[in-house]
């Protein structure tokens, strides 16, 4: 059986978990077994939806002590569920939650772990692939233990909702007392967090002044995109730190990355070069970013960006 931990940050199961279940179902099909999802905590209103993505069963450990995240208690509970259900493969999301659990669970279960995978396993060797050296290389690892753990990179599979919802089964597992006390959670409401965004519009020092960002926001809003920025822009306080992408900031892999007035330094590319499609807008035809781009526009961003926003509005109105 393939067990997928469907995380429900702040009471809601989101795209990353739907991706993980879609992936888990494909692995289960390869192995000729079923895919079971597990949800922790009492608030996961939309857990039944997981059936649509391929879970044949959704298990819930509905203990309020699990509503706040503590890697230690989550690991203990997931390890017990995996043993109880006889899981051969455990799939986690490669998110802040998944990363804090994956290593713990592998030690607890004596299971081999590959984190941040972006491919289905090869049947036989159970070899999985991931991107390393900040996107400059790819590696294949084979997991040899009886139980195997992988965490799935965001945006690596498209969620497939062609199945039907299932009912939720409560299971009882003892929940050890946690040692972490969550005091508060602060999130930016209304925007899709960068690691989950399908389209990212990002701008750099070419913008000249923080007050010029209106055209970037207009483009992002028109596309339903999340905004990002280069490091000097965040460092000088032009944009909030959580927008900083690159080697020292957040690494992302959206379907579409639009870079505006960013030169494309290697440390910036390190965080974005796994994007599926890259568009670069820069007035300097020699900017290194063009070498990493799929589409390029050599021109003044102050003219090109508003023109692109208009073109997208026209396109959206017609489609």
């Amino acid at each position: 059986m393939v067990l997928v931990f469907a995380e429900s940050p702040r009471g809601q199961i989101k795209k990353t978990a739907f991706e993980a279940v879609t992936y888990g179902k494909k692995v289960a099909d390869q192995l000729g077994t079923s895919c079971v999802a597990v949800v922790l905590g009492t608030n996961a209103a939309n857990a039944g939806e997981l059936g649509k993505y391929g879970a044949s069963k959704v298990l819930q450990v509905a203990d309020a002590a699990l509503n706040d995240f503590d890697s230690q208690t989550y690991t203990a509970v997931l390890a017990d569920v995996a043993k109880q259900q006889g899981a051969k493969v455990v799939v986690l999301c490669h998110t802040s939650t998944g990363k804090a659990i994956a290593g713990r669970l592998s030690v607890r279960l004596g299971a081999g772990l590959v984190s941040g995978v972006n491919s289905l396993p090869e049947t036989g060797t159970f070899s999985v692939r991931k991107s390393v050296f900040s996107g400059k290389a790819i590696v294949d690892y084979s997991i040899k233990s009886d139980v195997k753990i992988v965490s799935l990179m965001g945006n690596a599979v498209r969620p497939d909702a062609s199945g039907s919802p299932v009912s939720i089964e409560n299971i009882s597992v003892s929940v050890p007392a946690g040692r972490i006390r969550v005091k508060s959670v602060k999130t930016q409401e209304g925007t899709v967090p960068l690691p989950e965004a399908e389209i990212v519009v990002s701008a750099g020092r070419g913008m000249k002044e923080p007050t010029n960002w209106g055209i970037v926001e207009d483009l992002a809003n028109t596309l339903g995109a999340t905004t990002a920025c280069s490091r000097p822009v965040a460092d000088s306080g032009w944009r909030p730190h959580h927008e900083h992408v690159g080697q020292t900031g957040i690494a992302i892999r959206p379907n579409l990355y639009i870079a505006i007035g960013i030169s494309g330094a290697i440390q910036h590319l390190a965080g974005v070069n796994n994007s599926k499609v890259i568009v670069v807008i820069n007035k300097d035809a020699e900017a290194p970013f063009f070498k990493a781009a799929d589409y390029g526009v050599v021109g003044d961003l102050f003219e090109v960006v508003p023109r692109l926003t208009e073109a997208i509005k026209k396109f959206k109105a017609a489609h």
């Binding site: 890697s71 230690q72 690991t75 998110t95 802040s96 990363k99 804090a100 659990i101 994956a102 290593g103 713990r104 592998s106 030690v107 772990l113 590959v114 984190s115 941040g116 390393v132 050296f133 900040s134 996107g135 290389a137 790819i138 590696v139 690892y141 084979s142 997991i143 040899k144 040692r179 006390r181 969550v182 005091k183 959670v185 602060k186 925007t191 899709v192 967090p193 690691p195 596309l223 900083h244 080697q247 020292t248 379907n255 579409l256 290697i266 599926k276 499609v277 568009v279 670069v280 070498k291 799929d294 589409y295 390029g296 526009v297 050599v298 090109v304 023109r307 692109l308 026209k314 396109f315």
Partner: protein, 246 residues
């Protein structure tokens, strides 16, 4: 306050990455190695700041071969009081975690700090593994860490925000941007680093469950397609019809 900081060595981001013909090993020739930035700028510097205000000691630990000693000396120059090298060429993060945990087990550290991930293998695995081996709480991606007596208040980065939490000593945390500011070692630090203790410890046996099969380079980009800056309708058409990105 006894703090352990785990430091790793990685190729500088600007290095050219290549592998042996069979894809088994990373070619180190001509590669510039640095201390992993998260370990150096954030974990190590914050540990030194805490020691400066509260007293105690900072131990820097690396699992690696003798060639890593330049990096280890740099950690001493930045401010660690002593260093330990576990003498092995680590085959995996599970191996590294096992070594760190078996060293830390008998040393009574109040806090173990790591970087949020290494910039070469991008695993983000070691910290969680160490915590489980030692049965300690683990706070990953900590961007702020303050101590009040035995209790730490930590900000932890999550998708689209931060979580603020409290945890009592001892615990393990991994450091992200924000926890401290980079420090450049000064002359005095560099001089004193030469005489600070660097102990070499033998590794404990460990059986890996994961095998590295092969490294490959990603397929080269087809090359950029330039679009006339006057004609953004064309870019939209390409993004829709060809790239299927909108």
């Amino acid at each position: 306050m006894k703090i352990l900081v785990c430091i790793s060595q990685t190729p500088d981001t600007t290095s050219k990455i290549s592998f042996s013909a069979d894809g088994r090993t990373f070619n180190e020739a001509g590669v510039q190695f640095i201390m992993n930035p998260y370990d150096e700028w954030y974990a190590l510097v914050r540990a030194c700041e805490l020691r400066e205000s509260l007293g105690g000691s900072v131990t820097a630990l690396n699992v690696g071969p003798a060639a890593n000693e330049t990096t280890i000396r740099k950690a001493l120059a930045i401010g660690a009081d002593e260093a330990v090298r576990i003498d092995a060429v680590p085959p995996s993060s599970a191996f590294v975690a096992k070594q760190i945990a078996s060293f830390a087990k008998d040393h009574g550290f109040d806090m173990i700090l790591l970087g949020k991930e290494t910039i070469d293998y991008n695993g983000s695995e070691v910290g969680a593994m160490v915590s489980e081996h030692l049965d300690l709480p683990y706070v990953s991606y900590a961007s702020k860490l303050d101590l009040n007596g035995n209790t730490a208040t930590i900000e932890r980065e999550i998708e689209g925000g931060v979580e603020i939490l409290e945890v009592d000593l001892p615990f393990v945390a991994s450091a992200a941007k924000g926890m401290a500011e980079q420090r450049i070692p000064n002359m005095r630090g560099i001089m004193s680093a030469r005489t600070k203790p660097l102990n070499v410890v033998a590794p404990v046996p460990f059986e890996d469950q994961v095998e590295t099969l092969k490294f490959t380079l990603p397929p080269a980009k087809a090359g950029v397609k330039l679009v006339n800056p006057e004609d953004m309708d064309e870019l939209v058409r390409l993004l829709h019809e060809e790239a299927k990105a909108i």
